[in-house]
Amino acid sequence: MSNRKGVYTGNELIALAAIDAGCRFYAGYPITPSSEIMEVMSKELPKVGGAFIQMEDEIASMAAAIGAAWTGVKAMTASSGPGISLKAEHIGYACITETPVVIVNIMRGGPSTGFPTAPSQSDVMQARWGTHGDHPTIAIVPGNAQEMYYETVRAFNLAEKFRTPVFILGDEILGHMNTMVELPDPSELDVVEREIFQPKDGEKYKPFDMSKGDVPPMGAFFRGYRFHLTGLNHNEYGYPTIEKDMIRQQQERMMKKVENHADEIVKNELFNMEDAEYVIFAYGSTGAAAKLASKVLREKGKKVGVFRPITIWPFPDKQLDEVIASGKYKGIMVAEANLGQIIYEVERVNKGRLPIKDLLKLDGTPVSPTDIVNRFEEVF
């Protein structure tokens, strides 16, 4: 039975959820506003025999997590924008070696050192394209305390299922907000365990086997078979290759393992949408504000619903298209705590069908329900 009701910050919930999801390795570096995740891990992981290490820098933290993942453990690191910029090198390495690992970004103002103690949603495109080269991205944008916990569990599950790094994009508000939450008993959680490849007699492990569907089987070091990993383009055995067909096939499979399975990854909340005339598209803490704004606007006689993505990458193309194509709505307002990032994705899917208005705010304060109500009344 669970007896874990209490007041937790979002950062604490991420750390506790990670352990409940089976995370047994954490490597990190102190950074505001995500440090509490590392602090909780330093306290809790040794109790369950998991490994914790405070590394010399962000680059090393990402590397250590990847190294550990290949010994067969679930691994995580957490940071904020400046740290994610540094980790970018190894996020690419995790993509090309197809390493399951969870990366938390508690977003703050940027660019550079920006505003360390204030929220923003300025890193959503960084999550998509922060590391160089074509690569798949899975990124989750929890919008409240419950989701900081449950979506962290889902992040680990997606990492295992698709053998790829998964981002959790919180922000300073979600990370530091205190909420009364009752945590479930970990045994009640739907957790995807690591399935480690075991060769049948004489079978050679191929870490990038193309014959087993889009996601090759995950192996581990020290299991009685040996294999190679590299950041270079490689063949099915993981050996470097310059063979053009192999490079193309592996690269395409790596992208498609997320693209082809978008329906299993995409998750949205549709709030007050049934009879709505207008749609507010918002995510994360802005998504929570949008829901409150929708209630206020309805009291004022405006039928407003909210499309709140909980997975931001892959982008909910199909689901948003269905909403737009239904012909039920007169316009969309995109609200985000940056100067315009996800709005271009909404415009891409919209293809000019509905008028799109924006509420873009980047001043170190969160997007409030009042901001959204006022802006909505201004534009629609």
């Binding site: 109790k47 025999g49 190294g67």
Partner: protein, 273 residues
């Protein structure tokens, strides 16, 4: 124990796309490493070999262990994750002078400080070879490279002093000219509990020698022979006599708490909490 070794046993049979120039020191170093592993009777399944980027970085692809060819300068950081998650396994890092003392300097010194049980083999050929011969933090003064066309005016790292200063608990240096001694040092490094650093002074006639009047492998090896001095002899030499020389031998062999050991003792003490 120094008898016959089937090197093919340690080499991958299904990947042999050798990137090294004929005459490169990397092969001799690899042979010394295989001898050390063989003589210690370490199972290939119980060892991970992690490498960075550059000529030395390619070692991991050719050898039949659990291998990871990582990013430039960062193999020690990956290896730290592997070792902490699998503390009872051997974890070896191969890196070059650019890899370990320039871009990866931070990871190198912190592994030494932590005294985490890694064996770090730094192959020092005094140049960035793979990228075509730019100067590295160990290129000697006056040497011409692609980025010091008028001769090197920059200062050097002494890898041994760097490792000692940072806290490594086994530190040795030998050149490719002395493979038997090198094997002995690698063996001791593998057996040592704590962070071990073995610097190997190696030769690159293509991207260093060629531009400095040493066109053949032999010419570079002769130069290495001239400027390396065993520790026993160095002790009797004056400061002037030692100028420009590289001292070889074992410099540190001490016991200090090892990182993963300390960590898992902590876990043990918290059991049941």
């Amino acid at each position: 124990m120094a008898g016959y070794i089937n090197f093919e046993y340690y080499l991958r049979q299904d990947y042999r796309n050798l990137q090294w120039c004929p005459g490169c020191g990397d092969g001799a170093i690899l042979q010394a490493f295989f001898r050390a592993v063989h003589e210690l009777n370490i199972s290939k399944d119980d060892m991970a070999v992690v490498s960075g980027i550059g000529c030395s970085g390619r070692i991991s692809g050719y050898i039949d262990f659990n291998t990871m060819h990582t990013t430039h300068g960062r193999p020690v950081a990956f290896a730290t994750g592997i070792k902490l998650a699998a503390p009872d396994k051997y974890v070896v890092v191969f890196g070059g002078d650019g890899d370990q003392t320039a871009i990866g300097g931070n990871h190198f010194i912190h592994a030494c400080r932590r005294n985490i049980d890694l064996t770090i083999i730094v192959i020092n050929n005094n140049v960035y070879g793979m990228t075509g011969g730019q100067y590295s933090p160990t290129t000697p003064t006056g040497f011409k490279t692609q980025t010091t066309p008028y001769g090197n005016y920059d200062s050097q790292f002494d890898i041994v002093n760097l490792a000692i200063g940072a806290g490594a608990t086994y530190v040795a240096r030998e050149s490719v000219l002395k493979p038997v001694i090198l094997t002995k040092y690698i063996k001791k490094a593998l057996q040592h509990k704590g962070c071990s650093v073995v610097e190997v002074v190696s030769n690159c006639h293509i991207n260093l020698g060629r531009r400095n009047k040493m066109k053949s492998p032999h010419a570079v090896l002769d130069w290495i022979k001239e400027h390396t001095v065993p520790l026993s002899r160095a002790k009797k030499m004056s400061e002037e006599e030692l100028a420009g020389k590289v001292v070889t031998g074992e410099f540190v062999e001490i016991e200090k708490p090892e990182f993963t050991d300390s960590y898992y003792k902590l876990c043990e003490s918290l059991k049941g909490e």
